[in-house]
């Protein structure tokens, strides 16, 4: 193996590329060439490092120095000062406003306060090289499972670990597996649900882009446990980079003999199919996703029968989320006890959140379950931009709700959030300050569900549309006092009667904002004012003018 003096890790996650990361890498390589030190410095493209807002990011080892917001024009200084003379460029280091810069990665609170299990390799390894994954104990858990454990033992370990589905519902993974394992069927399927569509969520994309093999290994472990030999990965077509890296990872795993027939010389064989979605949010719902793989319109099916009994092509099917699968190699390799030391009793392990909105450092954050929202927003995310105050945090995207300031110390886990009228969701966390109007936010998400409703069942198709009409009226200043009551009634009705999870949770953003920010709704309706100054009532004035003109005639 070649030994390098310096390792320069460049984040090649989609967000850093979008921020201009491509130009920097080229410039850096040119500078290395110019000074003839290409042989001494290894430039590695990694997956998402997490601090997406400060991207493009560069980490230089052995020191572990992080440079933020690097541009092509900075490459010269970094190479000449740091790489050649050993004087790190302070100007580009991570720093707090007006304070001293943080010299090393491990001292930066954003990173120091996280616990990385799922993201163990993201930002550290080159996702396009299987050897780097293997060097970090990759495929060790799979080897252990197929060579040393019975399928039942694997299910038992996962059951004991208490791992719960990270897609949002939090159903115990091991229990779900045992349903499918008990089915007597020649064919069974594993599906990786990578149709991450919640607005504000990008955890799964970052895992797929940054550590695709961890998901593949997780799927194979699942396959071995329930007796399936085919896995489908269903990825959003909006994530072309994730698709490319997955394709590459599958190919490399096949070449290495880790995927295919008689894995590790055992009787276990596994094949994998990569499928792209085509832009339909509802396909994240498991039965709609199955229909989509079968080549149909992505409309949900009635449950029961649950997919674990009768799913894809009518066969027992286990559908797990990307993050759930990425947890599995660690659980099988290190055991249930190791996993349970993180998180709470009922929700063990960690959770990855995509922190976005009005927060100082937005990006990807992994914390133990049960961590308080305050810690995530203020300690890790660096708080709210100066001069503004925290108003609410939205979890669960269009299926979730808003957590106001008074509950900021609530532990974030599967038990506490429903008590507040929201859900854990897949991990999108949008922070809002006083500049956001809660009625506008509720309207925004309802418009999203109206657009994405597949139209199969009436409560979702028609109900959400009527609720949106009322909200539009309110934000234009034409709301009526009875509207609040009507919104609440319709919301509850849709929750009770819609066919799938999309419809059943669609009213949540409205109901939750009504619960905590009723006065804001009343201000729109009675005082015809938007306290946050977001909603424009000019349309109302126009309407009034017309009306007055009519009367005058």
């Amino acid at each position: 193996m070649k030994i390098y003096r310096i390792h320069a890790l460049i984040c090649a996650g989609a967000q850093c590329i979008a921020a201009g990361g491509n130009g920097f890498e080229e410039a850096l390589k040119n500078e290395l060439k110019k000074h003839n030190i290409e042989e001494e410095v290894s430039v590695v493209e990694t997956g998402c490092m997490g601090a997406c807002q400060l991207g493009p990011l560069l980490v230089v080892y052995p020191e572990g120095i992080m440079y933020t917001n690097v541009e092509a024009k900075d490459a010269k200084e970094i190479v000449e000062e740091h790489f050649l003379k050993g004087r790190p460029v302070k100007r580009l280091m991570w720093k707090k406003e007006g304070e001293e810069e943080f010299p090393e990665l491990k001292d930066i609170p954003f990173f120091a306060k996280q616990t990385k299990i799922v993201l163990r390799n993201c930002g550290l390894i080159n996702p396009e090289d299987i050897n780097e994954y293997i060097a970090r104990d990759g495929y060790k858990a799979l080897a252990k499972a197929v060579a040393e454990m019975e399928p039942k033992d694997v299910i038992d370990v996962v059951k004991e670990s208490g791992l719960r589905g990270r897609g949002g519902a939090g159903f115990p993974t091991g229990l779900k597996w045992s349903f499918a394992a008990n089915q007597d069927s020649e064919e069974k399927y594993i599906i990786c649900n990578a149709d991450e569509g919640d607005p504000g969520a990008y955890m799964d994309r970052s895992i797929l882009e940054g550590d695709p093999h961890s998901v593949i290994e997780g799927m194979m472990i699942t396959g071995y446990a329930i007796g399936s030999s085919v896995g489908y990965i269903y990825v959003r077509a909006e994530y072309p980079l994730a698709v490319r890296r997955l394709k590459m990872a599958i190919k490399q795993a096949k070449q290495a003999g880790l995927l295919g027939k008689n894995i590790f010389g055992t009787n276990f064989s596994f094949d994998m199919v990569l499928m792209m979605g085509a832009g339909a949010f509802v396909c994240g719902e498991e039965t709609a996703l199955i229909n989509s793989i079968e080549g149909k319109r992505g409309e949900p099916r009635k449950k029961p029968p649950f997919p674990a009994i009768s799913g894809l092509f009518g066969k027992p099917t286990i559908i797990n989320n990307v993050e759930t699968l990425a947890n599995l190699p660690v659980i099988v390799d290190k055991g249930a006890k190791f996993f349970k030391q993180f998180g709470t009793e009922k929700s063990p392990g960690t959770k990855v959140f995509a922190l976005a909105g009005n927060v100082n450092i937005s990006g990807l954050v992994e914390v133990p379950m049960g961590t308080s929202l305050r810690k995530i927003v203020f300690d890790i995310g660096g708080g709210i931009p100066e001069g503004h105050t925290f108003k609410g945090a939205l979890t669960g995207g269009p299926s979730g709700g808003v957590i106001p300031m008074e509950f900021i110390d609530t532990p974030v886990d599967y038990e506490s959030l429903p008590d507040l009228g929201t859900i854990m969701g897949s991990g999108g966390l949008i922070i809002m300050d006083e500049r956001s109007c809660m009625v506008d936010v509720a309207k925004f998400f309802l418009k999203f569900t109206v657009d994405e409703s597949c139209g199969k069942c009436v409560p979702c198709r028609e109900g959400t549309r009527q609720m949106l009409k009322i909200l539009e009226r309110i934000t234009l200043g034409r709301g009526r006092e009875e509207d609040i009551d009507r919104l609440e009634k319709m919301g509850e009705l849709i929750k009770l009667t819609a066919l799938c999870g999309l419809g059943q949770t669609a009213p949540n953003p409205v109901l939750s904002t009504l619960k905590y920010f009723k006065e804001e709704y009343l201000a729109h309706i009675i005082d015809k004012k938007c306290p946050a100054g977001v909603c424009q009532f000019s349309a109302l004035k126009e309407g009034r003018k017309k009306h007055e003109a009519k009367i005058a005639h």
Binding site: A18, G357, M432
Partner: protein, 143 residues
Amino acid sequence: MKQKSLIDVLHDTQEEEEKNYLSRNKMIEIAKTTKISETKVYGVSTFYTMFSVYPRGKHIIRVCRNLSCHLSDAEKIAEKLKEILNVDFGETTEDGEFTLEESSCLGMCSVSPAMTIDDEPFGNLVVENISEILLKVKEGSKK
């Protein structure tokens, strides 16, 4: 292993087509080869937002309309795009270069407002840079 999913077939067909869409003739052809009824092929083609049964431009611009982008003034970016291209959402420019579309979320909240042109992501957008990006994409495709 089952045969190729209809969704994959539609993706492949659309990609081959210069105008990025599924023509009536192609859909009929697919129905014949896959032995799926024509109505079903049409039904699937119109269910998913990424398929179009109308001709589109060479490049597809998808503007993210998610809340994080909404909070960081993505509206202005959308307005600017509409102004420069002289089209509304769902429309194609006269020269057949660009089609402007909306996306519910591109998963790039930290660098909002964001958009993608074909497969390339663009983040931290400012109104002033939009025309430059469009020009680059247009010129890049001529090479």
